[in-house]
């Protein structure tokens, strides 16, 4: 997309067989620049994840949490960097610090049933200082993922992702375009009764029924930590290298804080896609012109879009039926439109046969793939399933610098929320 480089890549690809290099599809990722060490740069890795558990396309960083105002700190690795949620969540089983409770105005401990679209993460809120790279957020509410301090309420439902095994990570660093994970809906009341839809709870005892749904003011909710940094607080950039077509066992990249706040985080030629109030934009699948609401999500491990009858790409047989398994790698394209339809960006992507990608090799386990995807919806007999999300997961991020600007925070191109790449 950046002219000169694109032409160079195109030239190289034309001679790929001679040069002995690999070019994926007609749209070899343009080599992007990945920021080197700096105060606003944290290291990213996409790797196997927790030993014995494993993770496909898991984007990880290490964070340091401290007892507020002290040097009593702990570094925790394998925290998923997630542009699809907001808030820092850490597994209670790995946390060795004793952190103070985060309470409502009357001193009652707050807990959360964090909604991740198909599952939930349960645990109490506690107060901590967060340090990452040279940035710090002090006195931050974090969620400690833990089902033993307070029992999971019966109306906190869905798949339980509150353990290391089910989470596959030591926590989640939610850096979406939202300031909070919930927002004004969670402070809503109707008369004396909270209409908070089962997200925040006030916990008066550890016994069954000890936690009751609670309205929680926005300021008391789980917050996107980046907004509290003293500088570089308007968003993030995820910078990852491209990945060979067959995948890789690991890659590393950079998580850069701030947009246009320093010489290492300018937007340059990146296209700005402004988001609607839900954090969404629009994607048109080029092959047949199907419109979908869409979002960027580094916490989704594939590109999940449409359904197999619309794309005519077969899904894998069970138990991999969440992925596409085309006979040969499909080179596809889509148009990304901002919320007003004023900006259009053409994007190329590839979908390989997931079963073939996962095929075991003698001495290496590839877990990093830029061509992994699956359907967003079940196939419909004889009809097109409209209206399901186009989920641009981690594969989209490889070979790109993807900006996420936080709602209401000023940047050189105006306030967020937007994504840019």
């Amino acid at each position: 997309m950046h002219g000169p480089r694109m032409r160079r890549a195109g030239w190289a690809c034309a001679f790929a067989p001679l040069l002995g290099i690999a070019c994926s599809g007609g749209s070899a990722p343009v080599p992007n620049t990945i920021a080197g060490p700096a105060d606003n740069v944290a290291e990213l890795s996409v790797d196997y994840g927790l030993p014995g558990i494993g993770y496909l396309n898991g984007l990880f960083a290490t964070v340091t949490v401290c007892v507020p105002g002290t040097s009593d700190c702990q570094s925790i690795d394998h925290i998923v960097v997630d542009t699809g949620s907001s808030g820092l969540r850490i597994l209670g089983s790995v946390l060795t610090l004793s952190l103070p409770a985060w309470t409502d105005d009357s001193g009652v401990a707050l807990a959360e049933c964090g909604q991740l679209f198909s599952g939930f993460i349960w645990g109490q809120l506690q107060r901590a200082d967060l340090k990452i790279a040279g940035e710090q957020a002090s006195g931050l509410a974090i969620q400690v993922i833990d089902e033993s301090t307070y029992l999971v309420p019966s109306d906190c439902t869905g798949f339980d992702a509150s353990t290391a095994e089910s989470l596959g990570a030591n926590g989640i660093f939610g850096v979406s375009s939202s300031l909070q994970d919930c927002g004004t809906s969670c402070e809503a009341r109707l008369g004396p009764r909270s209409v908070n839809p089962g997200v925040y709870y006030a916990c008066s005892s550890a016994t069954a029924g000890g936690c009751q749904t609670a309205a929680v003011p926005v300021a008391k909710q789980l917050q996107n930590p980046v907004q509290f940094f003293s500088q570089d607080n308007n968003g993030t950039i995820i910078e990852l290298p491209s990945v060979p077509a067959e995948g890789a066992p690991s890659v590393s990249g950079s998580l850069v804080f701030g947009i246009g706040t320093r010489d290492n985080n300018g937007l340059d030629q990146a296209k700005v896609i402004r988001l609607d109030s839900g954090g969404d934009f629009v994607t048109i699948y080029t092959a047949n012109g199907t419109y979908s609401p869409a979002f960027m999500d580094s916490g989704s491990n594939g590109i999940y879009f449409l359904d197999s009858s619309t794309t005519r790409i077969p899904v894998c047989s069970d138990p991999l039926s969440y992925f596409y398994c085309p006979g040969s790698t499909q080179n596809l394209s889509a148009k990304i439109l901002d919320r007003d339809g004023l900006v259009t960006v053409n994007v190329s992507f590839s979908i390989a046969n997931a079963r073939a990608l996962f095929a075991a090799r003698s001495n290496v386990v590839n877990v990093v793939f830029d061509n992994l995807g699956g359907p967003s919806a079940p196939a419909q007999a004889g009809s097109v399933d409209m209206g399901t999300y186009f989920d641009w997961g981690l594969p989209f991020y490889f070979g790109r610098n993807v900006f996420t600007a936080i709602e209401g925070q000023a940047t050189p191109v105006g306030a967020g929320p937007f994504v840019a790449f």
Partner: protein, 158 residues
């Protein structure tokens, strides 16, 4: 983030071997879980504290609740008076135990450990489950495939 569990132990285990018609607006909403009839539930209106309406069409009756928090829940009842489909869209996912009723446990089992961290698409004999979206924007629908009225496109369930 779409957390769906589990990792790569799966790899080792697996791979070595391997038109809308006119809707009539009526009053008096009720609320029911998938597979049950509308008289089966009363408590849940309070649960959602929602504005509600009932829409009738040729093929089904639609109970639509819009919670004050913005999530819309729709329940589709067939001519036998039983709920054959539920759908939701909005900033919050509804209480699935309540909404899916006796199918909740089936969903939990089917949604269990897998390598995909993305949307849920489960197709079981007679039961189709689809959930997608992200924090603050959830979308889902679940239907009993064998009870969808003849001639109704499942695309209409949304």
């Amino acid at each position: 983030m779409h957390t769906i569990p589990v990792g790569l132990t799966f790899l080792r285990k697996l791979l070595p071997r391997c038109a809308f018609f006119a809707l009539l607006l009526v009053s008096q909403p009720a609320w029911a879980a998938l597979g049950e009839d509308e008289s089966s539930v009363a408590a849940d209106k309070a649960h959602f504290l929602a504005s509600a309406r009932i829409l009738r069409s040729e093929r089904y009756t639609l109970h639509e609740l819009e919670a004050s928090t913005g999530t819309k829940v729709r329940e589709y009842l067939g001519s036998d008076g039983k709920v054959f489909a539920v759908a939701w869209q909005g900033p919050f996912r509804p209480d699935l135990r309540q909404l899916l009723g006796s199918y909740y446990e089936t969903y939990l089992k089917a949604a269990g450990p897998r390598a995909a961290r993305g949307p849920i698409n489960i197709r079981l004999p007679g039961l189709v489950i689809h959930m997608s979206g992200h924090q603050r924007a959830f979308y889902g629908r679940v239907y009993l495939a064998d009870h969808v009225p003849q001639g109704l496109s499942t695309d209409e369930i949304r």
